[in-house]
Amino acid sequence: MAGQTSVSDLKKQRRRRDVVQGINIFLFLLPGLLLFVSILIAPIAVSVYRSMYDWNGFSEGTFIGLENYKELFTNGSIKFMVSLKNSLILAAFSVFVQLPMSLGLALILGRKPKGERFYLTVFFMPVLISTVVIGQLWLKIYNPDYGLLNTLLGVLHLDSWKHVWVGEVKTALGSIIVPTIWQYVGYHMLLMYAGVKGVSPDLREAAMLDGATAGQVDRYIVIPIIKPIIRVSVIFAVTGSLKTYDLVRILTEGGPFQTTEVPSTLLENMLFLRNRYGMGSTISVMLIILCFAFALLITAAFKEKET
């Protein structure tokens, strides 16, 4: 008898301990979960729900199924396809121009040139500057009458090359791409540099002993080792391009003639210019889908290459 009660007592004790532990786990997670669910998860659920409504943000709205999605892709006046194209162009430039520059710089700095520390510090500086500041600065560079760029072209007697950089259809998108790429070269460079520094010196030495040149060491040893970091950089670069907002808002406001709109600026227009909160939600949902789709696609592409 006595033995039995002690066994059930033990069980009870253990159960109580489990409950206490469960409560503790919950309490530890609580602040994070509150923030995460209230600001990210719940709003996304609401966005998905509202994306199927014709809704001005304050009335009840009417359920219209997938009409918003259909309109998004077919109604040319919404400019969603234009904005998507612009984002993808930006993403292409990021992946094929910016990241190779970052990789090149990271590899060069990995070879310990004189002044390694100085270059590292300088190349990372633009990352710390607010994009709005960079936008304002480049507006002064692009200014058609007094800007640095046109003044320089004037001095070089290349007046035919002068442009109203952010105001002409031909040059507006390019004017956004250049500062974007310039600003974040340093960010990716530092990530990759961390990887390059992580390659063990023995491995390099062994390859050099076998007669490999510095270029071959980089190509066949360093790059394969830092591949996971490159993958992360590619994902950040592409999803970052899809999310672009700041520089477009500052430099062109989506103009001229809405040729430089990106999904985020369209989203803001839907809220404040057109009062179409349902359509705004639809754009949000499309952005989430695109970000995840590209992240998965890039991960898969890197896996394929490895095998």
């Binding site: 997670l29 209230s38 070879r111 994009t131 709005v132 007094y146 992580g198 002993l209 985020s264």
Partner: protein
């Protein structure tokens, strides 16, 4: 034997590129590095010089040179009518609070995920990691509608809460990297000594996590200090503007007057840059630690 190895290593260190590679390639590499440095430094120099010039100088032929008259009055008008001082304080408040909140929440959540054994800890971690891919725009419509219905726009907390939430995923990712490296024997020992979960967390884990704080701080800072979209949409009154919104407003007022705008840009940028240059080694190491642990 050891000495031979060492001397070999030394030899290879010295013949190691670019010192031993052919001089032409070496020169080209240095030229590239110097050109890119100039491209990175010049805009900052340009910003500083035009913040001290009058329009006559900027629009004359002295676009890129040093200012002839150093017009410090541009700074007075950026601080006075431009209110840059207030915006600067606002930015510090919002960024500081967001970093603190996300850091505390991340430390607690990571502790529950990595150091307590329970089913579902992996799933919870994966759940939080969704935040790395979810764009900040995803939640802007519902959050805006709810906040405006609650009359909760135009406050510091309007920005602090979303910023903390969006910094959380990265903070947990970095925290995990650091926390799994703390030996689990320590928890065991603490439990034997009668420490509960909370005391173990406060007395043992938190002090050992100190190296992680600066790394998380650097990442959260980058996210919050420069954030423009939420700040632009949620803050319309001038009392609570952060620097990016303030600069945009100022440039709207002074469309033709470049000097004060330049001064505002310098005020927004130089304190960060100066701190960065003083602490550059630590900041870079923090950033790199985040990349490696992540």
């Amino acid at each position: 034997m050891k000495e031979i190895k060492q001397s070999k290593a030394m030899k290879f260190d010295t013949t190691y590129v670019p010192k031993g590679s052919n001089p032409v390639a070496k020169t080209i590499i240095y030229i590239l590095l110097i050109i890119w440095s100039v491209i990175n430094i010049f805009p900052i120099y340009f910003m500083f010089t035009f913040s001290l010039k009058s329009n006559e100088e900027i629009f004359g032929l002295n676009v890129a040179g040093l200012p002839r008259d150093w017009l410090w009055s541009n700074y007075a008008s950026a601080m006075g009518t431009g209110n840059m001082g207030l915006y600067f304080v606002n930015s510090i408040l919002v960024t500081g609070a967001s970093i603190a909140i996300s850091l505390i929440a991340a430390l607690m959540a990571t502790y529950a995920i990595t150091r307590i054994k329970w089913r579902g800890s992996k799933l919870t971690n994966a759940f939080f990691m969704l935040g790395l891919t979810i764009p900040i725009q995803a939640s802007i419509v519902p959050v805006y509608v709810v906040l405006s219905k609650l009359h909760w726009l135009n406050k510091y907390s309007t920005l602090i809460v979303p910023y903390s939430a969006f910094a959380l995923s990265m903070a947990i990712l970095i925290c995990t990297g650091f926390m799994v490296e703390i030996p689990y024997d320590l928890d065991e020992a603490a439990r034997i000594d009668g420490c509960g979960l909370w005391r173990t967390f406060f007395k043992i884990i938190l002090p050992l996590m100190k190296p992680a704080y600066s790394t998380i701080g650097v990442y959260s800072y980058l996210q919050c200090w420069n954030e423009f979209m939420f700040a632009n949409v949620f803050i319309s009154d001038s009392q609570h503007r952060t620097l990016p919104v303030g600069i945009k407003a100022l440039s709207g007022q002074h469309t033709t007057d470049w000097g004060p705008i330049g001064a505002a840009l310098v005020i927004a940028t130089f304190p960060t840059l100066i701190i960065y240059i003083i602490l550059c080694k630590r900041i870079q190491e923090s950033f790199i630690a985040g990349a490696v642990k992540g």
